[in-house]
């Protein structure tokens, strides 16, 4: 048992010495002030451990050496407090009081313990040891609790580091208090074994907190990966503006590497988004960075020295910049972080460039809708005048007109009405597109609506056409905007007639199904190629074939009809066999009572 304990003791001491050395090495690689305090805190623990080992091998080195180790221990506690202060600031006065207290404790220890080597310690000396342990624990305990609390709302990597640090130092506090309590009497071997094991575990934890290896950083970040992938998708597909893309992208770039701040600058140097720092600060830093170079890691100064990873964004308008600035709890930026950020930057570039196109398309769409709206309303004026005078001419209110001119009147009236119909379609389309279309629904019998529409369509037929109406004997109660649904049915009927140039029958049947009232319009006309049916319902999606090229139309009718049907909660679908005719089916929801 004693042998095992001995080995463990040496191992623990060696591990701490190693910890100090590794920390020192990592610190020298990336010098940073805030991280320096953590390196100091951990490094000094290594020094204490080394001192202990030296003492054990060489026998007692005397009181001054012992005193020096105590001072080093207290200094490591103070360094941790300074590190915590760089992370969550401590008032300068508190820092000075703490420093004074620690010096006092060291002084008391040296006076009480001075020269008192060998033999079992007196109660005064035991008290002095307890005082040192107490002071060190107090210095360390506050940051431990603080780090643990602060970790909860941090990204995965930072959270992992803060927690390792808390647990690592926490274990040391336990060990030291344990040692101080038992310093008067020999401790049971089990307790000693426990102490050494805890010390052995604490060292790697502290190292992980200081400089977590790549695999561990990945492991910590793993649960965030899926969330990240979703975020990238959203970034690429659903961000409407460049600013929004930049803001979302930056938020993730920062989380991704556990940084504190960052910004994205556009090709012209203007800051698109900044997080953790304000925009003016971002602009200052952007000025310091200069052109992106091969080495993406930069040292920047803005009040204090910071490390930033700067990734160029090859935008279509020039080269922008993604800069991520390390904070106290950012792991050192290694090739892994830089690699991930570079990969991510490709997404950001794509997202930003896509947003340019989206913005441009949206602006075009807006202009087009505005134009459609303006033009169509402006056209209503002249149409009013033309139709007004035509009706007066027709009635003879403007005096008798020659017989020859009178023959032209029906044509003029029909064409003016056609023009009016087209303008109204344009207005309806514009209204639909900017979301201003409001339905005014009321209860109606679908049979009645369709019957009236058929009556209105009757004048369009010639002697070769037959309009057949088929409806059930019972009411088909629906909640609809009657004017608009009659327009849709009228439109289907007029299409059926228009696209049956050789005549034939046009059947219009009303049916009552489970949840819907249906209007089915079937013709024996030219039909539609199967692969073009979907194209029918797109805006301006007319299908022009040699047989139909002479038939006038805007290509808005079916688009509007389907949109109107869908606004009602229904739909409009089509089936067709080319050369044999088409069938259009309009479905609108039935009234609740009729469904029961």
């Amino acid at each position: 048992m004693t042998g095992v304990l001995q080995v463990l003791q040496y191992a623990a001491s060696l591990v701490f010495v190693l910890l100090g050395l590794l920390t020192l090495r990592d610190f020298l690689r990336h010098r940073e002030r805030s991280r320096g305090f953590l390196a100091l805190a951990i490094g000094l623990l290594g020094v204490v451990s080394l001192g202990g080992l030296v003492q054990r091998f060489t026998g007692s080195l005397g009181a001054p050496f012992q005193d020096l180790l105590v001072v080093v221990l207290l200094a490591s506690g103070y360094a941790l407090l300074l590190f915590r202060s760089s992370f969550i600031p401590v008032a300068p006065r508190t820092q000075w009081i703490t420093l004074g207290g620690l010096i006092l404790v060291a002084g008391v220890y040296i006076v009480l313990y001075g020269g008192g080597g060998g033999g079992s310690p007196s109660s005064l000396q035991a008290g002095a040891t307890a005082l040192v342990v107490g002071a060190w624990s107090a210095c360390v305990a506050e940051p431990i609790v603080r780090f643990w609390i602060a970790s909860s709302d941090k990204p995965a990597v930072q959270r992992g580091r803060l927690r390792s640090l808390s647990v690592g130092f926490g274990s040391l506090v336990v060990i030291l208090i344990f040692a101080a309590l038992g310093s008067g009497a020999p401790r049971p071997p089990v307790a000693q074994l426990f102490t050494q094991l805890v010390a052995l575990l604490a060292a790697p934890l502290l190292y992980l907190a200081f400089s977590p290896p790549r695999w561990l950083r990945r492991e910590w970040a793993y649960p965030e990966e899926q969330e990240y992938r979703d975020a990238v998708r959203e970034l690429l597909l659903f961000s409407p503006t460049r600013q929004r893309v930049a803001e979302r992208a930056l938020e993730w770039a920062i989380r991704f590497v556990g940084a504190d701040a960052g910004f994205i600058a556009d090709a012209d140097g203007s800051v698109l988004a900044a997080s953790g720092i304000d925009e003016s600060q971002a602009e200052r830093l952007q000025g310091q960075l200069g052109a992106p170079s091969d080495d993406p890691t930069h040292r920047i100064h803005d009040g204090q020295q910071q490390t930033a990873v700067v990734i160029p964004l090859p935008l279509s308008t020039g080269t922008g910049v993604l800069a991520v600035i390390a904070g106290a709890f950012t792991p050192f930026f290694g090739s892994d972080e830089v690699g991930r950020l570079t990969g991510y930057a490709a997404n950001i570039t794509a997202g930003l460039d896509r947003a340019v196109l989206t913005e441009r398309i949206a602006a075009l769409e807006r202009t087009k809708t505005e134009f459609l709206n303006l033009a169509s309303h402006e056209l209503r004026g002249p149409i009013t005048v033309i139709r007004g005078y035509l009706s007066m001419l027709d009635r003879g209110s403007l005096g008798e007109i020659p017989e020859q001119a009178r023959k032209a009147l029906p044509v003029l009236t029909a064409k003016a009405d056609e023009m009016n119909g087209l303008v109204e379609q344009m207005i309806e389309a514009a209204r639909l597109e900017d979301g201003r279309l409001e339905l005014s629904t009321r209860r109606a019998d679908l049979r009645e609506v369709v019957r009236l529409a058929i009556e209105m369509a009757q004048p369009l037929t010639d002697s070769t056409h037959a309009l057949v109406f088929d409806s059930p004997d019972i009411e088909v109660p629906v909640m609809i905007d009657v004017e608009r649904i009659s327009t849709v049915v009228g439109n289907l009927l007029s299409n059926a007639i228009k696209y049956s140039p050789a005549g034939g029958s046009v059947t219009c049947s009303v049916a009552l199904e489970d949840h819907v009232g249906k209007v089915v319009v079937t013709d024996q006309g030219v039909g539609i190629p199967a692969d073009r049916i979907d194209c029918l319902f797109t805006r301006f999606g007319r299908i022009v074939t040699p047989e139909t090229s002479h038939i006038p139309g805007t290509g808005l009718g079916l688009y509007l009809s389907r949109e109107l049907a869908r606004l009602h909660g229904g739909d409009l679908t089509a089936t067709s066999i080319q050369g044999q005719g088409s069938t259009f089916t309009l479905a609108v929801p039935l009234m609740e009572e009729a469904r029961a």
Partner: protein, 180 residues
Amino acid sequence: MTISALLPPIPPTGLARGQTFRLDDGAGRPPRILMIEDDHTIATMYRCQLQADGFEVRLATDGAYGLHLAQADPPDLVLLDVRISKLDGIEVLKTMRTDPRLVAPPVLILSNYSNGAMVREGLALGAREYLVKSQTTHSELAEKIRSHLPHPAESCSGSGGTRLRWRRRAFSRRRQPVQG
């Protein structure tokens, strides 16, 4: 604009093939309509139509002048455009609602703008109808005017069959558009 100058002279009221109607209030005076409309061509066309239908029509080409005419000599009915210069149609309507002499004459809005908000506002301010010019036929307009005149004369159905149109928008107070 010279278009109106090219038009045939406006015939005297109550003429032409027995299709127009002479309306009066019993004292032989035709109903007097004030039309506030800043498009001169449209205004002239309507005046021509309405005179043929037996109404007496006064024209105001901007809102402020229209209000002045109405205050000077209250008409039997007002046809009001919304987008007009000097004083917006809605403002004219608001002012009329606060003038005791102008509360009585019914107001029909006759505009080529027909978005839901405008229609609602117009009707909420007491307009009897909101008619879209291009979608209201000659006979429909005459019918609407007659139905809203203070002492409606015999009702006469207008001529002209209904044709298949894309949409006919006539909003009345009885059937306000419902937010869809």
